[in-house]
Symmetry: D2
Subunit: 342 residues, 4 copies
Amino acid sequence: MRSVGICVIGAGRAGLVHARNYRENVPGGSLAAIVDADLDLAKRAARELEIDHYFSSLEDALEGASFGAVCIASPTFTHRDLATAAAAEGKHIFCEKPMAITMEEAEEMIQAAGAADVLLQMGFMRRFDPVFRVAKGLIEAGEIGSPMLVRSLTRGPGLPPRWACDIRTSNGMLAEVNSHDFDTIRWLSESEYQRIYAEANTLKCFDLKEEFPDFYDNAVVSLRLKNGGLGIIEGSCPVHYGYDARAEVLGSEGVMLIGELQDTAVVTCTKSTGLVSSNFPGWRERFREAYIAEARHFVECVVKEREPAVTGEDGKRALEGVLAANQSIKTGRPVDLPLERD
Amino acid sequence: MRSVGICVIGAGRAGLVHARNYRENVPGGSLAAIVDADLDLAKRAARELEIDHYFSSLEDALEGASFGAVCIASPTFTHRDLATAAAAEGKHIFCEKPMAITMEEAEEMIQAAGAADVLLQMGFMRRFDPVFRVAKGLIEAGEIGSPMLVRSLTRGPGLPPRWACDIRTSNGMLAEVNSHDFDTIRWLSESEYQRIYAEANTLKCFDLKEEFPDFYDNAVVSLRLKNGGLGIIEGSCPVHYGYDARAEVLGSEGVMLIGELQDTAVVTCTKSTGLVSSNFPGWRERFREAYIAEARHFVECVVKEREPAVTGEDGKRALEGVLAANQSIKTGRPVDLPLERD
Amino acid sequence: MRSVGICVIGAGRAGLVHARNYRENVPGGSLAAIVDADLDLAKRAARELEIDHYFSSLEDALEGASFGAVCIASPTFTHRDLATAAAAEGKHIFCEKPMAITMEEAEEMIQAAGAADVLLQMGFMRRFDPVFRVAKGLIEAGEIGSPMLVRSLTRGPGLPPRWACDIRTSNGMLAEVNSHDFDTIRWLSESEYQRIYAEANTLKCFDLKEEFPDFYDNAVVSLRLKNGGLGIIEGSCPVHYGYDARAEVLGSEGVMLIGELQDTAVVTCTKSTGLVSSNFPGWRERFREAYIAEARHFVECVVKEREPAVTGEDGKRALEGVLAANQSIKTGRPVDLPLERD
Amino acid sequence: MRSVGICVIGAGRAGLVHARNYRENVPGGSLAAIVDADLDLAKRAARELEIDHYFSSLEDALEGASFGAVCIASPTFTHRDLATAAAAEGKHIFCEKPMAITMEEAEEMIQAAGAADVLLQMGFMRRFDPVFRVAKGLIEAGEIGSPMLVRSLTRGPGLPPRWACDIRTSNGMLAEVNSHDFDTIRWLSESEYQRIYAEANTLKCFDLKEEFPDFYDNAVVSLRLKNGGLGIIEGSCPVHYGYDARAEVLGSEGVMLIGELQDTAVVTCTKSTGLVSSNFPGWRERFREAYIAEARHFVECVVKEREPAVTGEDGKRALEGVLAANQSIKTGRPVDLPLERD
């Protein structure tokens, strides 16, 4: 099997997860370089990852290192420029969610990849999670009949970075945290969004609300699907208790619960505590295997010249859902899809 | 302890649950009579319950039997007349949900009970369910901080009776099945509804949809609470798989899951089945203890002349939520509460 | 249905559970009197139970009150005399476990009941527990094939009363706590014991061990059944964490887990605690429904003149298992059944 | 990090698991060669694993390939010769369980490794399983006080190979399947075995019983530990329902359940099935992560010249438990440890 060198862009938490996987857990893939606008961060990461190449920009990396693909894990507002630049150099593209800030950006990325004939895979790793995959397989096998309702929730423990608190430049929590849910509902229902209504409020981070007037830390999104089905997305961030990603699908013949709070199958019971087990502290622990499988899939698609299972189109559709929900929050009205362009 | 005779009105499934409990499981209460517009049904029930008194109307029962209270378990559209008639005769009133068809009816019932100085307890038995009570206690003790989101769902296995399929005369599934959820969210959040948006569709009973144009068998209700919190109600009926009543509360410090699908703590595992356990077939099995506790509470309130824990006001508030949700389904817009009167 | 008056003997915890059930939860049964050697205790119980008749001995009760049956819930060493005295007066007998101290006593009780033609039901309430009944039904339906191994455990939170610490007069923990397991394994396997080996030790109550040289607070019993199957009993008392009664059956086609630690289906999760739910604090909470069903069964058997589902023979067989296990602990050898008599 | 070449001996199922891990999942380790007495099997494996070197004996491999360590995954009766030969050539040794057939063999292996100053790691992969590690950590942290009882069970879905059916040459099911439990109880209790009693029977494979008179397919082992604690091992193989490896630890302050039947956190519920989820089909699925972590540990120990966490001494102790249990089954008596040598 030929080997694919990967340049990881972004030395934050997500970037490091990807970098480490390409280094240790992806046969056929290898970590070629790490890029971060903060060169010190890139350097520290390179040392930790035991690689030589670190840069402060993709341009420098393209000059100073050799690789066949990029893995974009930098802030959302940088995705479009990075993806189009990578495509222009014939590099395959793995892009973290959310795909971009606007529909126009997303479309530009898709076109750039298409024009350069490079792959564009979106980082919806839940599609590679063993739990969600089993669920998807059972739904496809008809175990619960036709999906009538899909509920998907994501709650995260950590405060967003400051750039993500400003909804105008980041699309806020629904983009940063709940992009996955917008993808999951499409994936499990095999339908597109028709109408979206959202309620949101700030119930915890009152300071951030003062600073960023459009900020919210809790949201509920009602979705009506093109096939007539219904959907619900629940978002909350930060939640103190840990990381939480669960879904439920009601089908015409039965119901399916996907995921659970419990991390490890160890339960203790004492007089003072009752029954206790541990929950997932963060997304890295919950989706460890999913990130590995996602990266293996990307490398395999590059090597075998196949279309990835999660494409730029999927990224664009999830983004459209986020934008519609934010518009609904702003207007207090349900929003029909597809969104009208200005 | 002095004994209270109860006249149960309605010999359908709910009526029989109440009647049997008053006969067997409520110290201080006794089943005095059973009433059903269908006298044959009343007669059969009386024989089965081993009591002598059965009637085709409350009027006949008032003449022919002696009792201190009525338990109204007949169709919703009869509640107002029965409650006001009972109040006029000084009988205490236990009334099944939904309370009534309109806000005006609900208010009339509350006033009649108040004027006659009789008790009016609403049949939201979940408030007496051991599972929900533990949950409420933990929330009150601050175990998960302040509730930010309450999700409550009810799914039932059986087709509604025909009178309940016509939303104009019954308020439909959200009234018949999900009244409980409207009460649960108020109870657990300790807040009132401010704005309600609902999506509904017919995804199963296509025949009924043809006959009753406003019919729906699946609904998702988004709720915004006066305290800023959010709520979700999920309703589906009929679902093949059984009866399902669960809730989840997200608090500022943690999360709480209330109820589960599993009926009995027996799990089997074989090669052909995997892990298997049984779920609740119906509401009678799920809430058996709750119905007993509810009836005991009613009798205790009558005997000790105390206000019940669930009042006509609670019935009216839940009804208002149902009416707002139905209005939202009809108009495609969120609806502010309190509802405006014509 | 004719009513059966019950005289409860023993105003300790088990006696009060039975007394309260006969008073409140058993149609056709009524609490006629309460007896305790400590008359003050009996008096206090009678007041609490709102009945008039309390006595310090069965003789007094037979003279001073009218009843058709006794419920023996006094210390084990009193069972034989009470049961034979009740039988002599034609009273039906419900007897708590363990049945008696010796095989001879157990046989005497069975013969006395037989000679007087009164019922003798043993207090193995697990046979009436909804969880265990579902399990038994599934086994009988062949869901897991033929049972090959049955494991049953009981752990209790409380220190035994002093009389039960002396193994010579009480048969110790295996009798007081694990009698149920000896019955459960026979019931679920439908086989008798052939050989028993036990290991026991004192791992907690070192003080009691000093006072009572044969005392043990932890035991594991290996059982070989007549049908070739295997069994395990685990006992531990006191355990700090609460009450625990679970079983597992390995069949030729599958496995079955019976019971669980969790008391109520409410789970909370916070950062500091992880996932938490409550477990059963004691046997009264775990087996509340079982005690009611057991008492209803007894009254029904008396009224309809039927043989109870759990007989004196069952009590004797469980006792034989306990005695064999104690003998094994003492000799360090496996013990064959039936036990040889001196 | 310097790289360690591994020669995997045995191209059966366990050998392939190890080989694949060294090839894909162990940074610093690489698969150098595969050996199987059946050269065709070795060849097929090599092709599948995309490596060039395959041999029919360790001797040939030592000549024809270059590696620093061997991974012994061939039948038990070959372990002693392979390990001593590898040690003689200065190769580090990873050896699958059970370690050997006799105590003498086990000791010879330990001495050979010691004399050659090579590592000898035993394949008790449960020590590297995330579930068991969390459990061990909580026990060490004192969460349930001092362990008083450890129960450990292993049940496997597949028929043993023929050589493993003859107890005289393989030590039978307790060696092949339950070696892990003998290690787990020592590990979790931090105590050695003092006395062992076992009951066994053939309840399924009646044909094998005829052919191999000492054969058994179900066993229960009672253990008394040096620290006074108690232990139970349950073994059954084959079981139709899948693979099962669970443990329970009763401590002085609480209880701990380790592992569960459920494989993936997806639950479906339909009318005809009730609640359903999938269980582990085999040990490869259950312990996938454990095998990877075990192999990484071995490579790390080789590279960093550290003593492995699971040593030949651990293998010898588990073997002694197996031998004592088999002796107990044969004699019908408890057996004291250490075993007497002939």
